[in-house]
Symmetry: C2
Subunit: 405 residues, 2 copies
Amino acid sequence: MRFSDSFVTTLRDAPKDAETVNHKLLVRAGFVRQLMAGVYTYLPLGQRVLNKISQVVREEMDAIGGKEVLMPLMHPKENWVKTGGWDKIDVLFHVKSRTDKEYALAQSHEEVVTPLTKEFIRTYKDLPLSIYHIQWKFRDELRSKSGILRGREFLMKDLYSWHLTQEDFEEFYKKAKEAYLKVFKRLGLTAKVTEASGGGFSEKISYEFEVLTSAGEANILYCSKCDWCVNIDDIDKYKEGDKCPSCKDDVLKHSLASEVGNVFDLGQKYTKAFDFKVQNEKGEMVYPIMGCYGIGITRTMGVIVEKFHDEKGIVWPKEVAPFDMHLVGLNGKGEELYNKLKENNIDVLFDDRDVPAGQKFADADLIGIPVRLVVSDKTGEKIEYKKRTSDETKLIDFEELIKMP
Amino acid sequence: MRFSDSFVTTLRDAPKDAETVNHKLLVRAGFVRQLMAGVYTYLPLGQRVLNKISQVVREEMDAIGGKEVLMPLMHPKENWVKTGGWDKIDVLFHVKSRTDKEYALAQSHEEVVTPLTKEFIRTYKDLPLSIYHIQWKFRDELRSKSGILRGREFLMKDLYSWHLTQEDFEEFYKKAKEAYLKVFKRLGLTAKVTEASGGGFSEKISYEFEVLTSAGEANILYCSKCDWCVNIDDIDKYKEGDKCPSCKDDVLKHSLASEVGNVFDLGQKYTKAFDFKVQNEKGEMVYPIMGCYGIGITRTMGVIVEKFHDEKGIVWPKEVAPFDMHLVGLNGKGEELYNKLKENNIDVLFDDRDVPAGQKFADADLIGIPVRLVVSDKTGEKIEYKKRTSDETKLIDFEELIKMP
């Protein structure tokens, strides 16, 4: 993409109402614009990042056998009345048609996916089954000031699974947990798995995938010697300085953290609500156990910015960067290299704008693509190469460049 | 994909409330399920078709310089009040938050895209500009019984353009028209461009892209000797049998048709509503001319089924088929061929289910993938090849198969 052909301009100052780093930097660098609190437009750079995160998530969900579908955003009231969510969930948006029919706006999709799969699943032989989609969600949040970390409208991957037994659910949960840790690793994040209560979904224990960041909204205690971690907003029997209850090798430390994913053991709550039974090996009709596994796509994008930035701007991890390379053309140079990079299937943002060199360099740092290339009168036949994470530049030729990791 | 691994089953009978061919066949063949009138879930096969249609549209929009973004679904009431749409558009869904804030659900995106681009566009040098997204829309339809042809919730590509002059708009419209005709041709459709009134958007003439089909909701008159075509639901000065007003070489014929795309000349309605001015060459501040160009993605999928089916099922055009080939394995055969096809990057649905051959053949016809392959004890080392559009089968070997067009 040519920068000159993009309609977006970067900003020197963040919007006055921006309180969080992700909000400030994503707006300044031209990835998003806020339409209203908690509701954002994704500009071309932002849309690319969302697609990259979605694709990583999709690949790992496919790898554990998840089947991708696309479920609606507007749901019949009856389905939400059946599960009690219509009256109990305060963040559920209600919509009324001009003929006074009432609908819910998707806040989650149990109320749609359960009756959907009920049609297809008859016996234990059809289980386990897991289905997911990447789709928008709506939450009537009272306060929504954390940029894209907590939206009134946000993109989410939600996977649902059905099992004959609790043991089968636990087994699938282990696979899903590994898939989640793989997703976050590919996205450049280290997630901690915490225990938390099931919230509105379930009385059972649930798991949250938390990334340590000072912009986070959750209070967690974690052990640095082992994987043990707990969300103390939900479970208050532990405190900072306690001995780790798992490895007993270190004391628990406190951190703010941001939830990027979660898993709920839904038990038979939804299968009972929709009278969804399957035949077991003995010919008896039983309610399957159900699990729900979410990853916030837009939220994860925000968390990545909170984690990876410096005073100059965003520092995207390679796998989610909007482009592989950022080519700064000076003295009218760069056309030839731009075309050669595209021919080699390298996704490149070419800054061919007629603006001062200083502005181009500042924007490259602000936007945060992992590799910056410069061609100018000074570089001659060579290309100046610099990583966003380093101050070191080197002059290389094209053959070296395309062999770079 | 393995059929045995898909949770979806085909149905012998269509749902009782299904009135249209697309609704009947898409449900029977396992592409969609209706959640409520006008609101559908897209199952794995359906989701694949939506992605294929979206990708064709995306490529052609990119080719005319459209920049892809992603705009929100929930809009502030103020924006819709500014343009008059809040009170005037009867299909606009209103949503109220628990603190009594009011929002509109996206019925179109002029109210969001106009203030968005206003921030970036300052002078005539920034024009023309065109921006699009592929995003869900909501319409409070009183009746929604045409399957996915007219949804209360539907997926749409909407592109918006801004121009300094009417002439520049007309020039861009010509490019967009050609891009649209290319899109529909790639999707296997022949679209007619009709004149219609601008509906709620504009008092100016607009253009509709119509596909002739008996399931259509629009009444059109067209000339078979030239491109002339008119929507007589909107413009009533022509009647069947009249001489073609353009080529005068034939008489006008009547047909039902389905709208798959449209273009509106919005004039300065929205730029004025949002006080969006640009500086022209003389230094004067003027309101740009705006155009809007839609293609219904879900609707187009329905129109394709209305056009391409026979008594046995759907007959997908190659470019939008959920898979390239449908492999029927009999007598436990097919594993080796399935893997070889995947290695050759051929997208294949492998019917490895333990069901009678007759059911596999019937499902292949119902689902409608362009090429059916059979391997069985009878075919030996060869592969039986049959096109969905033909009754002729032939025995070929793998080398011949992968060279097939």
